[in-house]
Subunit: 268 residues, 2 copies
Amino acid sequence: MSLADPNPLACFVERLSGRSRLGGPERAALLALNGRASQIDANRDIVLEREKVRHATFVVSGLIASFGQMRSGQRQIVAIHLAGEMANLHSVVIPEASEALQALSATTIVQVPHAELRDLAECYPALAMAFWRESAVRNAIAAQWIVNIGGRSALPRIAHLYCELACREHGGRGKDGISFSFLATQMHLADMTGLTAVHVNRTLRQLSDQGLIRYGGRVVTIPDWNRLVEVAEFSSTYLQLSGTAPYSAPAAGREPTPPAPAIMRAAH
Amino acid sequence: MSLADPNPLACFVERLSGRSRLGGPERAALLALNGRASQIDANRDIVLEREKVRHATFVVSGLIASFGQMRSGQRQIVAIHLAGEMANLHSVVIPEASEALQALSATTIVQVPHAELRDLAECYPALAMAFWRESAVRNAIAAQWIVNIGGRSALPRIAHLYCELACREHGGRGKDGISFSFLATQMHLADMTGLTAVHVNRTLRQLSDQGLIRYGGRVVTIPDWNRLVEVAEFSSTYLQLSGTAPYSAPAAGREPTPPAPAIMRAAH
DNA sequence: CGTTCTTTTGACGAGAGTCAAGACTGGTGG
DNA sequence: CCACCAGTCTTGACTCTCGTCAAAAGAACG
């Protein structure tokens, strides 16, 4: 199911299957969704802040970001959406966009009507859970971005972002020599990390001088995965990519006496 | 349906109803959930990082935070959970916690088994959507925190957080003279904003000197709402609190020819 | 009424922002 | 094929916000 698949949504099905167990009917229903494909140039808006959205946007190729904007014109990227990801699945339940959606590079998208996704969620509980789970993973990523921006200085901050992207693009763990395409400019990188473009540039040079990354063109290479992970204090568990192990409900029945609540554990 | 209600989950029902339309059976099913109440001291862990969780935690009173932790011992709060909110509803679909959950003050919680919530979501599509929507609002809040931490300097950053809290506690818009209880210490506030406790203190004094806030005990008062909003560049739409207007699906049928995609709009 | 946590202040240093200018790139058209 | 041009990237010098260290005063709690 590559991106070259005649039905680009096949890729969406694969992604959901990686985290949720889907049956035949669910898969078929997803593939039957009718999306409209479009090409978008770099730096073009897809959704404006406050806009009422009627479609979810699936990224076939390219790179998309969610922006928060301030009066000063400064912008902060709050999330990025790689090829194969649904950019704003949450808009199905919250149609009014609180952030703008914009392409960072030339991008191909498929827009899927909310109404159809909503129908699916209502007919197939498994899909409702899968959609919710997908949103929840986004939430976990956002939480890590907060930790990253709020708690790390420039060098580990960019290192952490690169670790995350390497894992997200490859859908699994990183390894030595892994490389991934990074279609954003250094200015975009600045907007993601809460730094300035100038300082991003200086920090990239540092990372590169220390042999932690190599970059050129639109590709980043990580020669020594463990070393970068160490610098970034990265742990991939929040991405829920654990190989291809799909989520499965606990086999045990409802235990009437749940284990002792965590309250008893020592603080700090 | 106050917090003093004999069934603390009544408050949860009210919260969901504020954003999603729930029918009688759904409400009844929610109220029939059996949760276990407990008291927790300040600074005690409720959920540890990486722990497999089997219960969602509802906050009856007090204040809870989700923490990311770093090797250095530094901690970053990625979300806080006020009285009346479900702290980790997302754990129903992602049982492995990627952040720690800890009480910031003495707190009363009710723990609801995942299994029961999952059953509800599977039996009642409207509840599945409501849960998902609730998670999505949390996501929107996280996104604003990223904007806040990544894009604003100390003074507007704290101002923005206070605006958010005022709205969240009152479940609506702010107004002059509004006040809200803030049970966290300045150190906690530092962990929320990505600042140091010392700098938080200096900034609070600035805010206070400029008449933007008054604080004392565990209460913050906002004398002039619009002025604080101005400083913070705050807009409450992302909280989805629009009065008590519940979300309703668009009345229109599936239009076969959706409006022109947003792609045409000018960039930047 | 002492112990511990929190708040408050000051002096100093460092990481990151700002301003500005030059080098490099890829794309466009003559 | 070359020249141009707008958008990137790179670098240096200077500034300022915020972090660090330290100490004392104030609150909370038993």
